[in-house]
Amino acid sequence: MPPAETETVTATGRSAARELLGRWEVLVAGLLLATLIVGQSLSSEFLTADSFTTASLDLSEVALIALALALVVVAAEIDLSVASVLALSSAVMAALWNAGLPIELIMPICIGVGALCGAFNGFLVAHLGLPSLAVTIGTLALFRGLAYVVIGDSSVTDFPVAWTDRAFGNFAGTAIPNTMILFAVLAVAFGVLLHATPFGRSVFAIGANVEAARFSGLRVKRVKMWLFVMSGAVAALAGVVISLRNSTAAANVGQGFELVAVAAVVLGGVSIFGGKGSILGVVLALGLLGAIQKSLTLAEGISSYWVQIVIGTLLIGSVLGPNLVRRAREARGGSTTPRRGPWPSRRAATPNAPQH
């Protein structure tokens, strides 16, 4: 595991204002604001209640997944199987509904299945010590495959209207979709869990330096296990949501969601090497992704294919930008970060492991 890449120790001389401006969340919020302004100038339909509703509905499941994934990434692991867990959950939901079970019973079962999937990932990663990137590429295929085994290429569309309306509808006459309320609740829950509990601190500690965390008595295996279980359970919840929202449960839902969720997490300032990040950043990044998607789709004369290009560029830029700034500072000799190790100028250029 490459060291460094932990939270930068802030120099004491820095003023509070500069500290605030230097925060990643402020930058993402600024970008979000800029997107809102540009989006409005491209299309007058952009800043309307309607477009907020559709944009946030479209992002519901990715948003839910990204919350739990953020914690996994902070712990310097990754879970690429989330979209497949979502699909498996959707398939199980379809199969159980066909079997005649009541929907109120099906939903907790689906979430339980997701938690089991997560426990399987967690066991392989935490207890057998396998690299999570490779493991979850494997379970990405495995869980999606199981989804097809469960339901084949058929789909179920006759869920009770009361529940599909609930998933698709808005909250108490506002423009806020119910799914966003669910997201907000989970965001607060995960925010508190990560930033205000001993569990959250241990997630940061494990991500920053797993050896140090182990030697200071943290139960690394147990924490990692829980992170994957949560990631699986939330992905399964997202599977229930997407099935009800679209009134369709099938094995092919959510293909590629794992990459969008990872993009949101990285864009939100969570270091892919772990030890750094915040739920607020991820929430803002999700807002940014939604705003970009919506504004480019609405804008006339601009192909919506640009969405992918803009998101890809932002993703790389979000890590490249700060690196180049640091590089320029180092070149001027005004580095504010303490130099670590005997080879300071080359250290960060080490071709790092894809994760860890």
Partner: protein, 354 residues
């Protein structure tokens, strides 16, 4: 580089080279066993399927097997180079898409274009994409997973912009190009020959040339590789350029084989390619594995799919089976490497105290 660092490193290097000999032998054996394992699994699969369904070992069926694996194998070779250096390239599917559409539209517009030129252009385009990845990783210091996730989107987006909903059809392509995907030379499909040449050339370079060994050195210990005078950044760049160029080659061959190409060509290939390399014993943390293993991994994955079809196993089980195999392969690798680690522990402890 500071002086104390240098003096501290010198004795370590000396110790490393002495006991390194033994360690290298152990590693070598482990690799052979690993590749042998895939060959055995492959043989077992083919024999068992052949007994249950004799059609499976017919010449035509085996030919198809190799054809299906050829393009994935070519991409897996490039991926291996990148993974060896502790990086990853998940943009290969998008690069393949770009190159496939370029080859298709070039030949539709001007059927007279010489095929080697089209291949060179495809590889050039892929190589340029790979160079962008490499520069962002080395100069930009951005983690490879982030870079190539970003360029996965960017290259695919560019392909969509470029195609603008159009697709290239087989009718508009010259026959001599399409024959590339179907013809054989001395009984071996040309597509498979391409894959064989790529695997052998890169495999032998990695095995025998100083240039090739440097990839392993970087993946094993980037810091030590740098101190040993290896231009790590340049090698990492090279790995990405080769991976991109081979994805470009894969794109041209994709068009030759399938004839019909749109902007979605090669979507999701990145995961299959990484899976092939991992099943083939390439360690995701770099430093170990071979392109032969990766190519065999591609063949094994392809064969499982074909075998399940021939055995009339419900098609829905295929993906689950491949996923389970992948997880199993990773677990077995871990088991083998734990044993290796025990053998190497003596050396590491001496290094730590040296």
């Amino acid at each position: 580089m500071s002086t104390p660092a240098e003096s501290a490193v010198a004795p370590q290097a000396a110790i490393g080279s002495r006991s390194g000999e033994r360690a290298r032998r152990i590693t070598e054996i482990a690799f052979r066993v690993r590749e042998l394992g895939i060959v055995l699994a492959l043989a077992l699969l083919i024999v068992v399927t052949g007994i249950l369904e004799p059609r499976f070992i017919g010449a035509g069926s085996l030919r198809n097997l190799a054809l299906n694996a050829a393009i994935i194998a070519i991409l897996a070779v490039g991926q291996t180079l990148v993974i060896l250096t502790r990086n990853i390239d998940i943009s290969v599917g998008s690069i393949l898409g770009l190159s496939a559409f370029m080859a298709g539209s070039l030949l539709s517009n001007d059927p007279g274009l010489p095929i080697p030129l089209v291949i060179a252009l495809g590889m050039g385009l892929g190589g340029a994409c790979g160079l962008l990845n490499g520069v962002l990783v080395t100069f930009g210091r951005v983690p490879a997973l982030v870079v190539t996730l970003g360029t996965l989107y960017i290259f695919r987006g560019l392909a969509f912009l470029w195609t603008d909903g159009r697709q290239v059809n087989a009718e508009t392509l010259p026959d001599r190009f399409l024959n590339l995907g179907t013809d054989s030379l001395l009984g071996v499909p040309i597509l498979v020959l391409f894959a064989l040449v790529v695997v052998l050339v890169v495999g032998q370079c990695l095995r025998n040339l100083r240039f090739g060994r440097e990839f392993y050195a970087i993946g094993s210990n980037p810091e030590a590789a740098r101190l040993a005078g290896i231009r790590t950044d340049r090698r990492v760049n090279t790995a990405f350029v080769i991976s991109g160029a081979l994805a470009g080659l894969g794109g041209v061959l994709f068009t030759a084989r399938f004839g019909t190409v749109d902007a979605t060509a090669g979507t999701g290939y990145e995961l299959t390619v990484v899976a092939a390399a991992v099943v083939g014993g390439v360690a995701i943390f770099g430093g170990s594995g071979s392109v032969y293993g990766a190519a065999l991994g591609a063949l094994l994955l392809g064969s499982i799919t074909s075998a399940l079809i021939v055995l009339r196993v419900d098609a829905f089980w295929q993906m689950a089976a491949i996923g389970a195999l992948l997880v199993l392969a990773i677990a077995i690798d871990r088991f083998v490497s734990l044993r290796l680690e025990a053998a190497l522990r003596q050396r590491s402890s001496r290094r730590a105290t040296g």
